[in-house]
Symmetry: C2
Subunit: 416 residues, 2 copies
């Protein structure tokens, strides 16, 4: 092990989750403990904050606030969606980054995000190595989409899944209250991978879930959807149907539901319609079934509902941050922290592993096709076995005067 | 006090809440204890279940399930929206109801609902009295709208308010994450009374709430709305605006936002638009400000989110049910249970009071105009003082395998 003395910087990137700040807490608290780390910085808005030299001196934050970060949703430092160009096409950003790293003697770079962010992380890592600048680069995974390659699952997913399952159970109770037919269409996030929509099966496992589940892994057609709904509607004496549909469902040509709806509508009324998948499908079933219909979008809530966060997820997110620092200090670089199930004696457990950044950059893991039923409108128990351990435990979010107590960082600028 | 021996029946009516079943639990558990009550029935789908002779024998339910009802959202017996005609116009339903009451010797009638349901309760009470059939009739209040007259507040409101405030705090964190302008429009339930939308001020009190709040108490115009948004947008360096708007906002002519949006759109594009208030307003600000916009509807979640229910609300809902039975057994009839604040030594407290049904039937209580700011787009601290005590305490909802454990009644039909 080579001892490398220098500053550490951490950035948050991509869409926020309920536990991205728990990873920040893990990185910060561990980095502040390491003797070889001379300063700990938090970048404002990810890579952008580094390029603009806008970052915070984390040693100025109190232990209490760093602890509160564990249950504070979203990205406390600010996030960004910024894709670095390939260095051989345009190396402006890379040169600037190296300049900033040199100026502050930054020797540890931790970046928290999904597959796009791991691509950033990977590019930075390779550039710095090529430039002969010694810097340990470790990615910290996060995404409610759960679509990062190789790792068993991603921090952020368990909490979002717990929100989805709990909320569907509650909506199920609400939607079944009148003795009249009703179709409820619930739209859940996930552009290409259906993991989060699949979490609706956990509500089924508890007897209060959807009748039909559509993920983007399987081509979607409105005809098949309508015939599926009709089958459920006709088979149930109370004519109550609940559908969980991923925002990312598309047909074989790659057209999203909103686009399919538009062309349908254009034919019928000569104009196009706005709205997401649930709104469009709701409108279509209303026309067809002439019954009460509710279209529900879980919107931002599914990724920021810290109050119903999974304790397992919060702790694993913290661990991922902590382990990233430990791995870097031990001399590792160019990796992302991943999870592997240990499952000793049938009891859920994980250990962290190091996954080469190149293997996760831009790669995508989807729900296995063998977990779908034959009709491809529902999932098998395999998914429950996979997901149930990830949503265990109460968030432990502290409340004050009946409302959540979230972290509020001082955000003292690092001296330029 | 006259001892009246006979059966009791309880029905749930109107839109469900997170705690309507807690009142059911209070009614059932108290009624099962009372010696003069010979049988305890739960009506399936409110008044409809009585007319159709569809009700359950509550003595067949376990104590454990009756306890679980306290934290089970929605209406376990099923609800109904059914308005009784005036008896002097058409007394068919009343005759049938009397027939059923006679058949089962029902001498206690408890009805849980909002102002429409109190109208039902009131009509039944008066009819039975006129018919000379001795029956004690007590209404049990519930509504997330908090719009019942005279009572300080209504069971169901505190939990919905806690959901709204907590969720807005979380969405606030999520919506402020990127360093680009963004306008978020959040639509909250309430057709004529703005109490629930007002609960967004609790998030402001915690530093993470909306910039603008629109309630149906004040006539709404899109022009004023746009100029309000522009002021906030221009005044904040990050150009982040969060708006809380009631689904019930309307202009002086009584047109809802969706209708206003339609006529605007019709002018512009020659066709009308679908969607609720948030969707329409979101579309309008997007056109105007050309920035990122999110339209969010709290939909059914705001009335069924038992997991973030207010302990105060759950206990008060239970108390209302319990007190309804006690009052009836003591000889009272023709009342609704209401709450009055005791506030001894400045500490929040309530006592139950009896309010004549005639005074609450169809009456509506709105947010006092003096609680609004001068611009009528925000509220004063008076509302915090009023609402904060109502959202205190953790729901105590039990979890099993990481997911809520809700009551599941056996629903054994009463013998016909």
């Amino acid at each position: 092990m080579t001892m490398l003395k220098g500053a550490a910087i951490f950035g948050q990137s991509g869409g926020p989750t309920a536990v991205i700040n728990s990873s920040a807490s893990g990185v910060f608290q561990q980095a502040l403990k390491e003797q070889c780390i001379t300063a700990v910085y938090g970048a404002a808005h990810g890579i952008k904050g580094i390029l603009n030299e806008e970052f915070y001196d984390i040693s100025k934050e109190s232990k209490e606030q760093l602890e509160l970060l564990k249950t504070t949703p979203s990205s406390a430092l600010g996030s960004v969606r910024y894709k670095l160009k390939n260095a051989d096409v345009d190396d402006t950003d890379y040169k600037r980054l190296l300049e900033v790293f040199r100026k502050y003697n930054i020797r540890y770079f931790f970046y928290n995000g999904g597959n796009d962010s791991m691509d950033t992380c990977n590019k930075v890592s390779k550039y710095l190595a090529d430039a002969g600048y010694e810097c340990r680069v470790i990615g910290v995974p996060k995404t409610i989409d759960n679509d990062l390659a190789i790792t068993d699952h991603c921090p952020g997913y368990g909490s979002a899944a717990k929100y989805v399952a709990t909320t569907i159970m509650e909506v199920y109770h609400d939607a079944s209250v009148y003795d009249t037919p009703m179709i409820t269409v619930i739209e859940i996030m996930g552009r290409n991978a259906g993991w989060l929509t699949a979490a609706s099966l956990l509500a089924v496992y508890k007897g209060a879930g959807p009748d039909l589940i559509y993920l983007p892994e399987v081509p979607f057609t409105i005809e098949k959807f309508l015939s599926d709904v009709k089958k459920v509607y006709d088979s149930k004496p109370d004519h109550k149907v609940i559908v969980a549909v991923s925002e990312g469902c598309k047909d074989k040509e790659g057209r999203y539901i909103a686009e399919m709806g538009q062309s349908l509508k254009k034919d019928a009324f000569g104009h196009s319609q706005l709205g997401g998948a649930a709104a469009i499908l709701g409108e279509i079933v209303e026309e067809q079934f002439k019954c009460k219909v509710r279209s529900i979008e879980f919107s931002l809530m599914q990724r920021c509902a810290a109050h119903i966060g999974s304790r397992t997820d919060i702790e694993e997110a913290f661990l991922a941050g902590q382990q990233a620092v430990k791995a870097a200090v031990e001399g590792h670089t160019d990796y992302m922290i991943g999870f592997e199930r240990t499952n000793e004696k049938g009891k859920y457990g994980i250990k962290t592993v190091l996954i080469p950044l190149a293997k996760v950059a831009n790669a995508e893991k989807t729900v296995p096709l063998e977990w779908f039923n034959q009709e491809k409108n529902f999932l098998k128990k395999d998914f429950i076995d996979y997901a149930l351990p990830l949503i265990q435990g109460d968030s432990g979010l502290p409340f004050e005067e009946g409302l959540p107590k979230f972290a509020k960082l001082k955000k003292v600028s690092a001296r330029k």
